[in-house]
Amino acid sequence: MAHIPDGFLSAPVIAATAAVSAASLAVAVQRSRRTLEEREAPILGAATAFVFAAQMLNFPLGAGTSAHLLGGVLVAVLVGPWSGMLVLFAVLLVQALLFQDGGIAALGANTLNVAVIGGGVGFVLYCWVLGLTGDGSRRRMVAAGLAAFASTTLVGVAVAGELALSDTVPLVPALAAVGGGHLLVGVGEGVLTGAILALVARSRPGLIAAHGTAERGLQPWAYVVLLTSAGLAVAAAYIASARPDALEATLRGLGVSDSATSYLQSPLAGYAAPIGGAWIAAIVGVLVVFLVIWTFVRFGAKRRVSS
């Protein structure tokens, strides 16, 4: 069991993550249609079946803990990022409804985390690493492993953020527990992804090379948009924070001086209605993520090599 159950997220976060996921999936449906071959349906069925089966396996981590393969980057490398997101969503959907693994209302958040970040962003990272290492069968495996590690860590940050924005758990403990936990899981995920792809490449090399081109980063415009989005995201989180003192404490802990934090506090000191704050933050958050996704889609890894 690895996904967020129902009950832990607040209404604004549920709504925001659902909106972003729905939009991402809509784009995925659109984009996957372009590369859709007649062969595709049984291949995606096989990928879906594999993710199901693989997520049931328990990998011992030591000290009595075990982890499950998330499979985001693995699937994206095998069937492409857009189809990969849809496959992951299909699995999450059935897991939520039939296995109660992951909440129903939380499906939006889980889709965002596992499919969009784990799969989609993971794939972008894969292309970037390939851009750094250069192409080649072994390099693809390494790139996939690294991308899986990084994206899993990002998933952890996302989950922590969602919990904190829901006012369920304060941010710092959430990051420590969930984020830290996912960092460890990420190591396992990275190693597993690389190892599995390596073994599969031996018997079916074509499978690995089908998707993903080396990408040397985004176009300049994209970085501007991303920076702006990051700024907006921080602002939104601040607005949502019904406990500005928690943010303050974090900043203080990070070494930011008192005077700076008091300056931050005053413009919004008189802000009323925590509900309004949270919903505004949710809307801003959604806009931010839309911007980020649009940036990647427009300025990012567009070209795909299909076999």
């Binding site: 449906v29 996957s32 096989a46 089966a53 011992p60 959907l93 409804l97």
Partner: protein
Amino acid sequence: MSFHHLDQYATTASPITRATPTARVVGTVTLACGAALLPLGAWIPLLALFTLVVFIAAVAHLPARAIIARMSGPFVFVLVASAGLLFLVPGNAVGRIGPVTISDAGLERFGFVLGRATVALGAAVVLVSTTTFPQLLGAFRQLRLPVVVTTSLALAYRLVYLLVDEMERLQRAAKSRNAGGGNASRRRLLIGVTAAGLARAFARGERTHRAMLARGYQGEVVALESLRWDALQGVLVAGLVVVVLATVLFAHVAP
């Protein structure tokens, strides 16, 4: 979590099982979302939704024991996950367990999160106990989920059974060869089994493709028609949606 339990549903006839699968899915999603969307502290609305779920479970003739048994696994997970709330949330201390202090705010939040989760879980379990996988797929199609998603799930269903069987067999064979090995060798074993599973999944996918071509497949998997709604079902489900929506809105707006 054995996959083979997926098909063991209560086939008792009831107004719930007679309803179209889509109605059941919409009802479940409404209830689960309703519970999940309640703001912290809205205990009365939570109780109202809980009563609704219990009522529907009763109408479905589902034995309480079966429901509780099905819920227990996920419930324990939620319990453990929310335990941290007891001491991570700042507030006035109400007790100590060892080195950690439990705050009053933490206790309340723990209780409410657990409450929300339980109601949502209950709704999901009612669905799972009254609906087969093919029916669920039919509901997805009627609800206009992306064709890629519904087709992938349709083709994945049989493949998962075959795959899990094969992987279990591989695991057993490798385990007997590896008897006594530690964590590291167990990991290697599992990686091997997973990789083999992946290769077989794709091999089977190709064989499925050939069989599909042999029966005239052109690129689109057309489905049989799902059951239709009737007026009564429509009204009841709409009523449920309205009631839940009202409850949630009331919880957010009321002081």
